[in-house]
């Protein structure tokens, strides 16, 4: 009966081969200049270009304006940079900001209806508070436990011991997980505890019962030990701190006022109605068409098509601002949304540092050159 078996979630794809192919965003590296030979200037032959040359700088100084910030949600503008930067930031937030999640499960007793790896998988997907994740070690490069991944620097231990002895179905939830470390607990519990403290929304919080792992009937038992480790979303989605991260180009809307004035009020109204989202409206006083919410525009081209159909091409001109992005970040709760953005910038910086160090050591730009053509 006391046979221990360990099941890790079986489907960790390959570990990343530590930054072998770091993404290259030379134009975005702040402060330090990596200057590149201009296209055409560089002889295609044997000569190596000089490593550090201060000819042209692509350096820009992006600006951030925060619009909205809650624990789990954040909206901000990123300006004066380009899509590669914005996309890098987005991808890092989704896939490379570390969190803590259950990675190894040692099952002692499982007489539930779900099998061992099923439960292990479900445990892995429970988001855990990961505020310390940046400071934790990856267990593969932990020195104090030789990569065993079971020491205090790289792991957190959980215990679960539930047995059903009533005739009612018993829900085993994230609330039944006992953590060895107070700072790493299931996110829903942390939220609940916070709500209790402030007691303003305690009623709502009390209704929450935690994330269901499995349901037990009379006589069924689940006893296990779980190890949570640090990881990144690239390896497995359970480590991803982001629920959704999106950015959009800020639209630049120009109404041709002269042409617009040739329209009758009904035509204006019809044209406004043609947009599936509420971007334009009619000024009740002046009868002019005004842009009320440019960000509601979904680049659907409906208003442009409508204008053409009305025989007024060029009534409105809409362009995406190439250097201006509106980000929406939603967090799973593992870390705060604001922290997620900051961590992402840190991670991105580290990655770029790695590139720079590598380049400095090897003094070899051939790879970079290949990318840039």
């Amino acid at each position: 009966m006391d046979q221990r078996r360990s099941v890790s979630d079986l489907f960790n794809p390959l570990r990343p081969e530590s930054n072998r192919n770091p993404p290259l965003y030379p134009s975005l590296i702040p402060k330090t200049l990596i200057s590149l030979p201009k296209r055409g200037q560089n002889p295609s032959g044997a000569q190596k270009p000089p490593a550090m040359e201060t000819t042209v700088s692509y350096q820009r100084f992006p600006k951030v304006r925060i619009r909205e910030m809650k624990d789990e949600y954040c909206k901000f503008e990123l300006r004066e940079t380009d899509a590669s930067m914005a996309n890098a930031l987005r991808r890092v937030m989704i896939a490379e900001v570390p969190t803590v999640a259950i990675d190894l499960v040692e099952i002692e007793v499982n007489s539930s209806v779900l099998n061992d790896e099923f439960i292990a998988h479900r445990l892995g997907l429970i988001p855990l508070t990961s505020d310390n994740a940046m400071r934790m070690r990856f267990s593969r490069d932990c020195d104090s436990c030789d990569g065993d991944g079971q020491c205090e620097f790289c792991s957190v231990e959980f215990h679960l011991n539930v047995c059903c002895d009533s005739d009612q179905t018993l829900d085993v939830t994230s609330a039944d997980l006992r953590s060895a470390e107070a700072s790493v607990i299931p996110v829903d519990l942390a939220v609940k505890a916070l709500a209790m403290e402030s007691s303003s929304t305690s009623y709502e919080a009390a209704e929450q019962r935690g994330i269901i792992i499995v349901k037990l009937r009379r006589g069924q038992e689940l006893r296990l030990r779980a190890i949570a480790r640090k990881g990144i979303g690239k390896d497995h989605a359970k480590w991803s701190p982001a629920a959704t991260v999106t950015f959009m180009y800020e639209p630049d809307i120009h109404i041709n006022e002269d042409l617009m004035e040739t329209l009758s009020l009904d035509e204006k109204r019809a044209w406004i109605e043609s947009s599936p989202t509420k971007v334009f409206d009619l000024d009740p006083n002046t009868g002019q068409v005004v842009v009320v919410d440019p960000e509601a525009y979904t680049y659907d081209d409906e208003v442009i098509k409508k204008a053409e159909a009305m025989g007024k091409p060029g009534l409105v001109e809409i362009n995406a601002k190439e250097d201006s992005f509106i980000f929406t970040v939603e967090s799973t709760g593992a870390i705060k949304a604001s922290q997620l953005v900051l961590n992402a910038i840190d991670v991105l910086r580290q990655k770029l540092d790695a590139v720079r160090l590598q380049d400095a050591e090897e003094n070899d730009f051939s790879e970079l050159k290949a990318h840039l053509g």
Binding site: Q3, L10, I94, F118
Partner: protein
């Protein structure tokens, strides 16, 4: 310029007219399925066999008498089938289907007979009686009348380890679930007018009675008509046959055919031929036929005794027409009707029969097939017993000789039934039947696969037939056979599936129906002269292929019969069909006809009213009440020809306010629900009428491959391989059929959000890019469970492991522990066998060699021992079954990687081949 077109003119008057709400008859469907179940035709036919058919077989062969001594006999008084039991250590034990599945047993019940018999070879014998003598075991169909699952509710079924959604209708032979497929057949005992392979017009009858089976063919060659019968060495002129049956006058023959002079002229060459053979009397004809009798040459024909021809004509020629007291007249009339229909066909080729017409087909179900098998084995048992008793009678120690001991010692029934069901080979020499693949292992790939398997109809023709006729969709299939569900490739159009509401009839007692016919004014043939039979004022009444007589007012007769049926005085599946062209009324009560329920409409007004439906919804009325009250009736394919069926309640004006072309008064029936023309598999397709038709056919084949749930007891089954989905879902968009079938309770598949984009790179057919995070979170994750069986011979031993390599997962009992991770080369049963199995004396450790069971898995895969089952098999050996579980997530298509392609030999054709192979199956995953 405003490029707006004006709206089409809408007549708001017609749109605002309140739609007359038709009675929603949909609730009838669940009621119907509740009463009948999804595979009721199988269960009904098996019940009929067990409760009635088996008695008839025994009744026909009830007496065994020793040839040497007529007082030494055995007579079967009664036969009955008990409850499913098994003998374990000489104790009778009740068994459940789940027990049989897990322990490789056959789910069977004992067959008992009550007998009367005499003993010994003394002249004065006492008649002894014996009750409940077992003569074998009968495999029992699940959910049939003798099954333990009969009438159990969900909780009781769960207790028995059974899935409440499982439809039953299959057998369990040696632990394997076996379905006896529905077999399609041309109908027996019916006249079929057709063109044969040489293009000659022919009339054929395949006769089948309990005693004989034969095929009688009339054909016309060079204007002369011949009979072809296997018992005659070559075709015989038809006139000679008629004369041999006692009609010596040519005038009478022509009269029997009918007055039309064209018939006479068509018959003239045949009459002339008869005269050129110098045959004028019955005697001459019989002598002539005696010569021809025997299929093998003239040498044997000479030895044949006189009267052979008479016997053939009596017993084999048109065997379905009985000859009582040497009265050949019914046979003559039957032959004359055949000739007449043949001539009709020659004069007007429209009257030719269509072999593909569903009304000319019969479906043979498990009950009939089991009945044939049982009859054969029962007769074998009896002949064996007779032979044994006959030969033992003369021997000295036969004082205690009796039939029962022989029957008990030799009974091929248990073995024979079990073997036929588990191999699917129906080899019945007695009935000249040699069919393979009659039963198949029930497909448990998914719940729908199992259901679909049960409604499948296996074709009568060979699959190699090139002709398109039998493959084409027949209009008469409407409502009976699914128009979509057929496989692709060689069996396309030949293998069919039943529609949702189809019922297949079983045989019905003929006597009462015949007397009803007679009391309704059918004139007996015996009282009619040849001339009168085809008089233009009357119709022939044909009952199950037999000419019953004639009736002066066929419409009134048919209506009266139908009224009786609706009143419940006649069986609900009796069909009455007036064929105006052939001037016949066909009454049928035979088994194997397909039919379906329809709502009766009086002059286009449905008999079902809202209050009936309310009663149904309130639970005070069930489907059978609708039948009994004459609101609904079953129509078979032939009777549908006399009906005008509207899809929905008749509207006098259509939506545009135009007058409906169909006259309301002509409508006789209303369809219950139009979608019931589809079968189980096609019923899963949402909006099938918006699809290109082959797409529906493809989906019917593919729906069965969907992974998901198999049954509620899926985790307690020991199938050799099952695939389950970790997170199966109910379809977001359901059809009515889905709810009826229970697919929403045992779903297969997951609802995916799919973005379709035509751009480049991934615009390859059948490729899909999947979100890796979704896969991480469990999308498409599946569990496979594979069974590994080990049989421990009596001399083998299973020993405790000694901390050796590859034996870490073993328990102290030497068998793998459930829950352990099992890797390649791990041993899961630590078994040893003696070097010399015969030497069973002092068995020491040295005489044993390892014969352990080693797991062969893929390196790097994590498989887990899910369960271990121990049971003793039928030979009392220990059988160990390890169920090994492996959870898998969707993988990049293997074919995509260059290495794999090389390995699988895809690159044979050089670069071109590679591109083709690589591109076709590409399935990519991308981050995010």
């Amino acid at each position: 310029m405003v490029a707006q077109e004006s709206d089409p003119v809408v007549d708001y008057k017609t749109l605002t007219v309140p739609v007359k709400s038709a009675v929603d008859k949909f609730d009838l469907l669940p009621a119907f399925l509740k009463v009948r179940g999804l595979v009721k035709e199988h269960i009904d036919s098996f019940n009929y066999f067990i409760d009635h058919g088996i008695h008839k077989i025994v009744e026909a062969n009830k007496r065994l008498v020793c040839v040497h001594d007529p007082t030494l006999f055995l007579e079967y008084k009664r036969i009955y089938v008990g409850n499913p039991t098994v003998h374990v250590d000489l104790v009778e034990q009740k068994i459940t289907p789940q027990m049989c599945r897990l322990s490789d047993r056959t789910y069977a019940a004992p067959i008992f007979v009550d007998v009367e018999f005499t003993k010994g070879n003394q002249p004065n014998k006492q008649i002894e009686q014996r009750q409940r003598m077992q003569i074998g075991q009968m495999p029992i169909m699940l959910r049939s009348s003798h099954c333990v699952l009969r009438g159990k509710d969900e909780a009781e079924l769960a207790k028995l380890g059974e899935c409440p959604l499982d439809p039953g209708g299959y057998f369990i032979a040696k632990g394997n679930e076996k379905v006896i497929l529905i077999q399609e057949q041309l109908s027996k005992n019916r006249i079929i007018i057709d063109r044969d392979s040489k293009g000659r017009v022919s009339a054929s009858v395949t006769s089948s009675t309990h005693e004989t089976k034969s095929k009688t063919v009339f054909f016309m060659e060079k204007d002369k008509i011949y009979l072809q019968l296997n018992q005659f060495s070559k075709p015989v002129p038809i006139m000679i046959i008629l004369k041999a049956m006692g009609i010596e006058s040519d005038q009478e023959i022509v009269q029997m055919l009918g007055r039309d002079p064209r018939y006479g002229s068509l018959l003239l060459p045949s009459i002339q031929e008869c005269y050129s053979e110098k045959i004028y009397t019955q005697k001459q004809a019989l002598d002539y036929l005696d010569e021809k009798a025997g299929s093998t040459g003239a040498a044997r024909a000479r030895i044949r005794k006189e009267g052979e021809a008479r016997k053939i004509i009596r017993d084999i020629f048109l065997a379905n027409v009985p000859v009582s007291h040497g009265n050949f007249r019914p046979k003559c009339i039957y032959a004359a009707v055949m000739l007449r229909r043949m001539m009709d066909a020659i004069l007007n080729s429209d009257t030719m029969d269509d072999k593909d017409y569903v009304g000319n087909k019969r479906l043979e179900l498990s009950g009939q097939l089991m009945s044939l098998l049982f009859e054969d084995l029962f007769k074998t048992m009896n002949t064996h017993a007779l032979e044994h008793v006959n030969s033992a009678y003369s021997k000295s120690n036969s004082a205690m000789l009796d039939f029962t001991s022989v029957l008990q010692r030799f009974s091929p029934i248990t073995q024979g039934l079990e073997r036929a069901i588990s191999t699917g080979n129906w080899d019945l020499k007695r009935f000249k039947m040699h069919r393979k693949g009659v039963s198949q292992g029930l497909c448990r790939l998914s719940f729908i696969a199992a259901l679909g398997h049960m409604t499948r109809i296996s074709p009568q023709f060979e699959k190699t037939r090139k002709v398109s006729g039998p493959r084409a969709l027949q209009p008469s299939q409407w409502g009976m056979l699914c128009p979509c569900d057929t496989p692709e490739g060689e069996a396309c159009g030949l293998t069919k599936n039943l529609a949702l509401m189809t019922h297949v009839t079983t045989d019905e007692e003929e006597g009462p129906i015949i007397s009803v016919c007679q009391s309704l004014g059918v004139q007996d043939l015996a009282s009619l002269s040849g001339e009168e039979i085809h008089s233009p004022t009357s119709f022939l009444v044909i009952f199950n292929g037999l000419i019953l007589g004639k009736h002066k007012d066929p419409k009134r007769f048919a209506n009266a019969m139908r009224k009786l049926r609706r009143k419940g005085k006649l069986g609900e599946f009796v069909s009455i069909f007036v064929n105006d062209q052939q001037r016949c009324v066909y009454v049928a009560s035979d088994g194997g006809r397909v039919c379906r329920p329809l709502v009766i409409a009086d002059e286009g007004v449905s008999r079902i009213k809202e209050h009936h439906m309310k009663e149904l919804r309130d639970g005070v009325r069930c489907f059978n009440d609708f039948l009994r009250d004459g609101l609904i009736e079953y129509l078979d394919v032939n009777e549908e020809n006399n009906a005008v069926i509207s899809l929905y309640e008749h509207q006098d004006k259509d939506l545009n306010g135009e007058k409906n072309e169909v006259d309301r008064k002509s409508i006789t029936h209303v369809e219950i629900e139009p979608f019931t023309i589809l079968g189980v598999c096609a019923g899963l397709i949402p909006y099938p009428h918006h699809n290109q038709s082959p797409r529906n056919t493809y989906q019917c084949a593919m729906g069965k491959q969907a992974m998901g749930n198999i049954a509620y007891n899926q985790l307690f089954r020991a199938d050799s391989l099952i695939y389950l989905l970790v997170y199966p879902q109910r379809p977001l968009l359901t059809t009515k059929s889905i709810e009826l079938v229970g697919y929403d309770k045992l779903g297969a598949g997951q609802n995916a959000t799919v973005a379709v984009m035509s751009y480049s790179g991934y615009d390859i057919e059948d490729a899909i890019v999947m979100n890796k995070s979704s896969l991480d979170r469990g999308f498409g994750r599946c569990i496979t469970m594979k069974k590994y069986s080990v049989l421990k011979e009596k001399t083998d031993r299973i020993i405790r492991p000694q901390n050796e390599q590859n034996k870490q997962i073993l328990d102290a009992d030497g068998i793998a522990a459930p829950g352990e991770i099992i890797r390649n080369h791990d041993i899961y049963v630590n078994k040893q066998s003696p070097k010399n199995p015969r030497d069973s004396s002092a068995l020491k450790d040295q005489v044993y060699v390892d014969s352990n069971a080693k797991y062969k898995g893929v390196e790097g895969e994590t498989t887990v021992v899910d369960r271990v089952l121990l049971c003793s098999d039928t030979d009392d050996k220990l059988s160990i079954k390890c169920i090994i579980r492996h959870t898998r997530r969707p993988e990049l298509s293997r074919i995509n990687s260059r290495e794999e392609r090389k390995r699988s030999g895809m690159e044979k054709g050089g670069v071109g081949g590679m591109e083709e192979g690589g591109a076709k199956e590409q399935k990519g995953m991308e981050e995010e």
